[in-house]
Structure formats: structure tokens, C-alpha cells
């Protein structure tokens, strides 16, 4: 109990460290824009009003649900496919050599440029947007998975071979965990890609979604509404990445702990466990 009390001021300090810049910038924006008469840079107070009314009387809630479900389903599909195909390509050296030029080509194609084509071909409903997000997010996951599988130490492969570990068990207990740090990094990249595709695909043509909201507000000269939508996307992206980091810390505990041990000679993240014992 006493340790928790002793930790409290330290944690508060850490929180303040992270929050102060945001607070200062928000305050600066608030006061500097307070008397703004520009159509394109409305006062922050007005933007906040639009945000609140967007949720209370407007379609904002429905739009957030629409956008969020698109991105979550899209990334889930991309992750499952990217990891499966990535392990296959990473494990089969010949296949990788054949596919390599193609992979390099596809990774440099700007995914958002494909949005008009995909939506033109498949319509303005929800499914084509999920396809687009999944398609764009597939590549970072795929390429990272391939890298992760290929960087498995030859000693580990020898070990698996000399102990005659069957293929499915090897994939499940050796290849997948060994590549997991890289896979997770790929998913983190695809999260950022996914947010962009999500918004752009909704701006291009949609019946709902935050991008749609921004587009509608902007084209009906409700600039503070467009600002409100944009801020909301930012907040959403931030929340997604924070929750992902928490997920990452949980699943890759061994990875962070062993790295911390190697670099500092002690384990940082198990502190909480030791504390619990006291």
C-alpha cells in the first residue's frame, strides 16, 4: 500500500510531462483564434461547439461507428492474410525470390490512388472501403512478416531440424513467435495507413463515416464542422495507436523484458510483479 502511495507523485509527474505541450498548444489555439473572423480558421470554441452538436444532434456518432468498424475489420483481415501469406513466402525461399520484384513494385504503389478505381468498380457501400483498407494494410504486414520469418537465426532452424519438430508445430511455436515483434511493428504501420485510407475513401464517396462528415461539412461551408471532424480523426488515430501499444506490451512481454535485461542488466517491466509480491 505504501509503495503505491509513494509511486503516485512519480506517475503524476510522468503524466504532466506528456500532457503539458498539448495543453499549451490547445490553450494557444483557443486564445489566438478567439477573435478570428476568417471563414477557414474559425475560433476553437466554435469548432468544439460543432463537435458537441455533431454528437448530440448530428450524425457524428453513426459516422464514428461506421469508420471504426471499417478500419478494425479491414486491419483484422489484412493481418490474418498478411501473416499467413508472409509466413508462406518467408519459409519458401524460392517463392520469395520469384515474388520479390512484384512485392517491391506493389509496396511503392500509392494505395490511395486506387480508391477511385475500387469504389468505381465496387460501389459506394461499406464493403469496398473495408477491401481498400485491408488491401492497403496488407502490404506492411506482409513485408514485415516476411522479414521477420527470414531473420530467424540459423541456429534456431538447426535446432528445429535436429529435434524433428513437425511443420505445423514449428510454424506455431517457433516461426510465429520469432517473427511476432516484426509482425506487430507491421500492424502498427498499417494502423496509420488504415486511418488515411479510411478517411480518404469516405471523402471520395460515401453515405456515412467521419470522412464523409468532413466532406459534407466542408462543401456546405460549415468549416468548423470540417475542423471538428478532422480533430476527431486525429483523436481516433491516437486512441487506436495507444491501445495498440498496450496490446503490444502484453503480447510481446518476453521480447521487451529480454531486451531490457540485455541493455540495462535488469528487468524493467516486471517491476509491477515484484511490487505485487511486497
Amino acid at each position: 500500500m505504501s509503495t503505491i502511495l509513494a509511486e503516485a507523485p512519480k506517475q503524476l509527474g510522468r503524466l504532466l510531462e506528456q500532457v503539458w505541450l498539448v495543453a499549451v498548444l490547445a490553450a494557444a489555439w483557443w486564445f489566438l483564434s478567439a477573435n478570428s473572423t476568417s471563414v477557414y480558421f474559425p475560433p476553437l470554441s466554435k469548432i468544439m461547439q460543432s463537435l458537441v452538436s455533431g454528437f448530440t444532434t448530428g450524425t457524428m456518432m453513426r459516422d464514428v461507428v461506421f469508420s471504426l468498424s471499417n478500419i478494425l475489420i479491414g486491419i483484422a483481415v489484412a493481418t490474418v492474410l498478411g501473416v499467413a501469406v508472409g509466413i508462406l513466402i518467408g519459409e519458401l525461399e524460392r517463392l520469395r525470390q520469384v515474388l520479390d520484384p512484384f512485392l517491391q513494385f506493389v509496396r511503392s504503389v500509392p494505395q490511395s490512388a486506387l480508391i477511385p478505381i475500387v469504389i468505381g468498380a465496387l460501389g459506394i457501400g461499406q464493403a469496398p472501403k473495408i477491401y481498400m483498407i485491408a488491401f492497403a494494410c496488407f502490404w506492411p504486414v506482409l513485408l514485415n512478416t516476411i522479414d521477420g520469418v527470414r531473420s530467424i537465426a540459423p541456429e534456431v532452424r538447426d535446432m528445429a531440424k535436429s529435434y524433428r519438430i513437425p511443420t505445423t508445430l514449428r510454424i506455431r511455436r517457433i516461426v510465429l513467435p520469432a517473427a511476432l515483434p516484426q509482425i506487430v511493428a507491421g500492424v502498427r504501420v498499417s494502423l496509420a495507413v488504415g486511418v488515411v485510407i479510411m478517411v480518404v475513401s469516405e471523402i471520395f464517396s460515401a453515405v456515412a463515416g467521419i470522412g464523409h462528415y468532413i466532406n459534407m461539412a466542408g462543401s456546405s461551408f460549415d468549416i468548423s464542422g470540417a475542423w471538428a471532424g478532422t480533430l476527431l480523426v486525429g483523436a481516433l488515430g491516437y486512441l487506436l495507436s495507444v491501445s495498440f501499444i498496450l496490446f503490444e506490451k502484453g503480447t510481446l512481454r518476453w521480447y521487451f523484458d529480454s531486451a531490457a535485461l540485455a541493455s540495462h542488466g535488469r528487468i524493467k517491466t516486471t517491476r509491477s510483479r515484484r511490487k505485487a509480491k511486497k
Binding site: 541456429e155 534456431v156 538447426d158 535436429s162 529435434y163 524433428r164 519438430i165 513467435p177 518476453w254 521480447y255
Partner: protein
């Protein structure tokens, strides 16, 4: 109940097969660029024997060990287990790799690492965990099964790697420079562990090392590799039997003699 059964199993490990290579040659590369590393080697490892393979760096010791493990196909000649030709890794042969920090999987606890190869053989979880525990006991690591390998010292990790090879129920252990990266005291302890396991379990052990003292201390026979491509230049019998001692054995005149003989052969 299961523990008792497993105990029986561990004690009954006993080597029954001779592991041997017959006029084994190995080349890397193809055609005109091919480099022959090993030339016409004949080596035999009899049941319950400790054989050390020494030679200067780059003599192909590790290549020979990988051939013995069935990890590398020979260019010509044969690797035999008993009267069966080995073309792939067999469960009778367990390998302890040089780089323990890599060959133990960091995402599994030590006990899971030791038990893992048994999962591939379809052994049930409780049974393989009991066996893993017993093997960790046998190598002097009774209390670390719950820890991750990277939480252990180098010597403890190498013990865990040995426990894994024991748990796999192999009757022949192949060790590639197993104690190259631990401190001197730990190295002596691990050498004595190897001798102890041989005596208690009746297994055969092959140790590749560049350390001549270590080779003579451990081995019943020392196989000396030298030259490019490497050939067996000598096989030295070491007459100390099962019981050896870090101080007395190494002070014995026959130890010094064997050591001098091997050193001369490697230098020339």
C-alpha cells in the same frame, strides 16, 4: 506415478548403437569452385563412449558434427547409426549447440524449452513436463523451470540445452564447442556434468572442441583433425575410465603425454 515411469526411462537411456562415419567427404560449392573440407574420414563412437574431436579453427569440426547430426548430407561416404544409414536427423541423436542463447527459445520458459521437442513426438503435456523437470534436475537446475532462458546465466543456459537433449531421449549427445563462451569455473563444472551424465545414464557423447585440455579430460578417445581438406591425423586413446578429477587427472603424466602428442599433431 508418471514421475516414476519417467525416472525408469531416463535411467534406461543407455546407448545401444554405434555412431560412425565411413570414408566421409564433404565439399562446399559445386564444380570447379568446390572446396573440399573433409576428406575420407572414418570415425566411430561406441556405446557409452566419450569421443572428442579436436582440430585447429576452420578444420571442419563443426561440419563433421553437422554431418553426424544428420543436418548436412555428406558429399560422399556414409553416416551410420548401428547398421542403419542416417540421411536425416534421428531421435537417437540429440544436439547441443554452441550458441545456447539462440538455440533456447526466448518466448518459452526454460521447462517448456526442454519439453518442447517431446511435443513434436506427440507426448502429452503433463508427461513431457514431468520428464523436463527430471532432466533439469539431472543437469543440476532443479528450480529454474519457471524462468525464461534469458534470465539464466550462460552456464545455466547451456545446462538447460543439455537437459533438452536428454529429455529428447537421445542416447547419443553431440556437442558443438559447448563450453566455449562460459567462464573457466563454469566450464569445469559443465565438463564434470558431461562425465557424470555419461556414467549415470550410459549415453555416448561426442564433443567438438578446440581446447586440447578439455578434449583429453573428457574423452575416451580424441580424434585429431588437421589439414585442408581435413583428415583424421590421429586417434588418441585416453585411459582414465569413467572417474576423473579436474586436479588429479590433469596432473597425471599420461594426461600431459596425450596433450603434448595432440598439440604437436595440430601444429604440423
Amino acid at each position: 506415478m508418471t514421475t516414476v515411469q519417467n525416472l525408469d526411462r531416463l535411467e534406461e537411456r543407455q546407448a545401444r548403437h554405434t555412431l560412425s562415419v565411413q570414408s566421409l567427404s564433404k565439399s562446399y560449392g559445386e564444380g570447379a569452385d568446390a572446396v573440399e573440407v573433409l576428406h575420407e574420414l572414418d570415425v566411430r563412437v561406441e556405446p557409452n563412449e566419450v569421443v572428442c574431436i579436436v582440430g585447429p579453427s576452420g578444420a571442419g569440426k563443426t561440419t563433421l558434427l553437422r554431418c553426424l547430426a544428420g543436418l548436412l548430407p555428406p558429399s560422399s561416404g556414409k553416416v551410420m547409426l548401428g547398421d542403419q544409414e542416417m540421411t536425416e536427423p534421428l531421435s537417437e541423436v540429440g544436439v547441443v549447440f554452441q550458441d545456447y542463447s539462440r538455440s533456447l527459445l526466448p518466448w518459452m520458459r526454460t521447462k517448456e524449452n526442454v519439453a518442447f521437442p517431446l511435443q513434436g513426438r506427440g507426448m502429452g503435456r503433463s508427461q513431457r513436463m514431468a520428464l523436463a523437470e527430471q532432466c533439469l534436475d539431472a543437469v543440476g537446475l532443479p528450480a529454474v523451470g519457471r524462468k525464461y532462458p534469458w534470465q539464466l546465466s550462460g552456464g545455466m543456459q547451456q545446462r538447460a540445452a543439455i537437459a533438452r537433449a536428454l529429455a529428447y531421449q537421445s542416447e547419443i549427445l553431440l556437442m558443438d564447442e559447448p563450453f566455449a563462451s562460459v567462464d573457466a569455473q563454469t566450464r569445469f563444472d559443465l565438463e564434470d556434468l558431461v562425465l557424470d551424465l555419461r556414467k549415470r545414464l550410459g549415453i555416448s557423447i561426442v564433443v567438438v572442441t578446440h581446447d586440447i585440455d578439455e578434449a583429453v579430460y573428457l574423452a575416451d578417445r580424441v580424434v585429431v583433425l588437421s589439414g585442408h581438406p581435413a583428415t583424421v591425423v590421429d586417434v588418441v586413446d585416453v585411459p582414465f575410465g569413467m572417474d576423473r578429477d579436474q586436479i588429479d587427472t590433469k596432473a597425471d603424466a599420461r594426461f600431459t603425454e596425450a596433450r603434448r602428442r595432440i598439440l604437436n599433431e595440430i601444429r604440423h
